[in-house]
Amino acid sequence: MRFLKLWHYIEANSRGLILLDIAYFVVLTPLLLFVKAPMLLFLLLVAILLIFKKRRGNITLIVVALLGFFAIFLSLYGAFNFLGLSRLKIFVELIIYLLLLAVSLQRLSGKINLYLLISPALLLALSLFFFKSIFMLFYLIFEIFILLWLILSYFMQTSFIESLKMAGSFFALSLPWVVILFIFFPRISFEHASYGFHGDNIRRTGHDGKMYLDTKALLVPSNRIVMEVSFPKRVPADNRLYFRGSVLYKNMIDHWEALPHKIKRRFSPKHYLQNGMVQKEADTIAYKVSLYPTFKTWLYQLDLPIEAPKGARIDADFEVKLSKPISEVQHYEAGSVLNYRYGKYISKDVLKYALDVNATRNPKSAKLAKELILDYPKAKERLNALLNIFKEANLSYSLQPKPLDLNHSTDDFLFNKKEGYCVHFANSFVTLARLAKLPARVVTGYKAKHSNSVKNYLVIREKDAHAWTEIYIKEHWIRIDPTTTAKRIDIKSAKLLSKNSSNNIKGELQTINLYILYWKYQIQSWILNYSHFRQMKLLNSLKDRDFALKFISSLVGLIIFSILLMIYLRRTPCPNKISCLMARLFKRLKKEGYTQKTGETLHQLFSRYSSKDIRKIEDIQNIDRLYHQVRYSKESYRFKNLRRAILDFLRKKY
């Protein structure tokens, strides 16, 4: 605080250097996250030399320069060839290092020149090559504000608060321009560059393309977000929130696999709908997905995907895949049909795989299936009977079940262990269905929960990885989620799920957490990933009168807010609160034709004023008395009373 108080007494050059040091500290902070260790050590050395004010002669500067070049060489060692330099990232990195070296030498010389003044802005501009996160967005705004404040502080040579207020008002003045330009400045549809600092490229697990029944099983009770989905209106009902991943046909005892590549598929419904697939248009839905790196090729879409994002393909089993594993966050628009009917053109080969089962492995189940076939000749009834068997089997949902006998996994699950989680339910159901001559397959992906949504935003976490089944009846596939047949959840699993539920935050805190995620997603979508496409969409939406009205009102509101903020920050503080308060009263009196004459006391003025209107006598006398008490008797505690009396008087209509 002492430093702040003495701030405007600091000599101009020293003050300039201090301000510059603050500017460099602010712009260098994010750069330190990716600067290589040798360069970090070099910067540390420069900082030490500056802090200890060691005498810095020419020799020191030459040594520092040599060390700087050596640090640059070590930092770029390996990439230091012409091929490396052709890559923009390395090239920018080299420029930053050279700039840092030059700035260090200039700063050590202790003289302010043009170069030293403009370099913070250059470093800021270059650092933006490497960051594109929400954190950096806020930090960038902070950086710009601080740099603005430092410039104003240098010119104003006044108190810390006054220059801060000026910076605030100036910033408020420019804010509407930034917003308007950001929205309307024409964009092109180039892809967002992919290089840069990737702080959030952790591999997401969960769905694996295979379904293991042993310890490798699909169990990741983690809260890490895999996907964020934004719907145009409301989030669909809970029973529709199945995000399709892979479709598995082959039971390999300890795991399930997709169809072998040799099986030829009769069609690939890319970008078009099959006849009869959608009953009504209202069943289709378009939504936006942000998928975090999974290092797999699947793009997850609501069951059943009908519109794949650019670069992805939908295959015959309606899996949506990219050609390369996802190593960076993917933002895509997708389309699905929530109430569908498909499967008419399925090939015999595929059906053969969907019925493939080894009855000898699960004799009890095979026996049960045989009875079902006899009792329920109609497929639909048989399926219902199957579901009833699962419901009545008294199965428990457990995240830590006893290991199954993999050679007799269905029998062991249904008749012995009677506990497991989605993979065990799906495995048993498909096996039993196939034994009952119902073509069946396993589908894995994510099952989102409505409770993880706010407004039109939905979060899908690693722990939402799920497996369900599809049964082929009357020439179409029906989704059946056998896990829902579980009678109970065991205590341990309930605790585990509860413990992991949104980082142990309950109730309102969970809602707050969701709202934070929601706003983070909105910022991500509308600011960081704002593009030509979104711009066109926004401009098209302006044709809608209601939206246009809302949009224009928001902009006008922002402009008014900025102006008010600017006025508030630039208002001249009252040097004497009593005089300022009285000034309002005098203004009123003047309006009514009463001004203080030369030689007239305030008491005389008040008497003259109130004598004309007896209704005002009491109030004016009260103000007169309070004023004299506050002003001359030093009874400052009565100021509040005086204030109230004056405001009441001004408000009253006589």
């Binding site: 043009l114 960038l140 603005l148 410039i151 040579q157 321009w177 330009l181 950001f182 180039f190 990933n529």
Partner: protein, 289 residues
């Protein structure tokens, strides 16, 4: 409406000059534009738009900072050629906001003013060393400011008289030395000329007591009495060339003023009497010779 009217009048008064920092801002914006456009970096767009908006807003902020200022007076003390002198000025800020980072410019000097508080006046001075005598044109007189971002230099020309007179450099023989050398000219009481009638205003030392004793009020009269009450400087006799003569005469005028001695100066173009003209008028005549 008043706000806009005032702003338009300020806009007309205040001139704007781009600085080297504005060139840097343009280059920076150009670079950011390419960085943003090529890679669709929205963060870079935001930085670009902030820089643009701030640079754009700097115009009104800077104009408002300087536009309400008015130079109420600009007066210089006696300025002599090749000697440092002071000029004084008063600036009034009629704005509700303080004005920051100002510079008061004349053709010969720059005075920095850190700020002028709202609705207040400041009085300040600057030093000046004129090279030669005569009329000194201080214009262009103006107030400048780089506030707020130093990308634009805001210039407020001052429409008051920025002229002043520079007197000749007062150098040469001091008056005391001159008086010693020219003692007879100053008058001696020994040169008795006779008795004159007492007018009532003469000094008591000049009363001729012998006549008083006889009942007649008379005073002594001296031959050089009139000459001794005023110094008569003659331009041609002062020095060898005109500038030296003017400098010498200026020095003597100042010495005479200091010792409250009356004097006359005979110039080729006129005659100046300290009893008839003020010292400043005489000095001005010397300056403009």
């Amino acid at each position: 409406m008043n706000f806009f009217r005032k702003f338009i009048s300020i806009r007309r008064r205040v001139k704007q000059r781009a600085t080297r920092f504005s060139l840097f801002v343009v280059l920076l914006m150009f670079g950011l534009f390419f960085e943003a456009y090529m890679h669709n970096f929205n963060l870079v767009y935001i930085a670009l738009f902030f820089i643009f908006a701030l640079a754009f807003s700097a115009g009104p902020v800077g104009m408002r900072n300087i536009g309400y200022l008015e130079v109420k007076s600009l007066k210089c003390g006696r300025l002599f050629a090749n000697q440092e002198g002071k000029c004084f000025f008063t600036i009034e800020n009629s704005n509700r906001q303080s004005s920051w980072a100002l510079e008061f410019h004349t053709a010969y000097s720059v005075k920095k003013i850190s700020n002028i508080k709202s609705k207040s006046k400041i009085q300040d001075s600057f030093t000046i060393t004129p090279k030669s005598r005569g009329i000194l044109e201080l214009s262009p007189c103006k107030i400048e400011s780089l506030f707020p971002l130093s990308t634009v230099r805001f210039v407020l020309p001052i429409d008051i008289d920025c002229k002043t007179i520079v007197y000749p450099n007062p150098i040469g023989e001091r008056l005391s030395s001159y008086l010693n050398r020219q003692k007879s000219h100053f008058g001696e009481e020994m040169d008795f000329d006779g008795i004159a009638r007492y007018s009532g205003s003469e000094s008591a030392s000049r009363i001729h007591w012998a006549s008083v004793a006889k009942g007649e009020m008379a005073v002594k009269s001296f031959e050089r009495l009139n000459e001794s009450e005023a110094l008569n400087f003659i331009f041609e006799d002062c020095a060898s060339d005109d500038e030296s003569r003017l400098s010498q005469l200026t020095l003597w005028v100042l010495d005479c003023e200091k010792h409250k001695l009356p004097f006359t100066i005979k110039m080729p173009n006129g005659y100046y009497d300290s009893k008839k003209e003020s010292i400043d008028e005489i000095l001005e005549a010397l300056a403009l010779y």
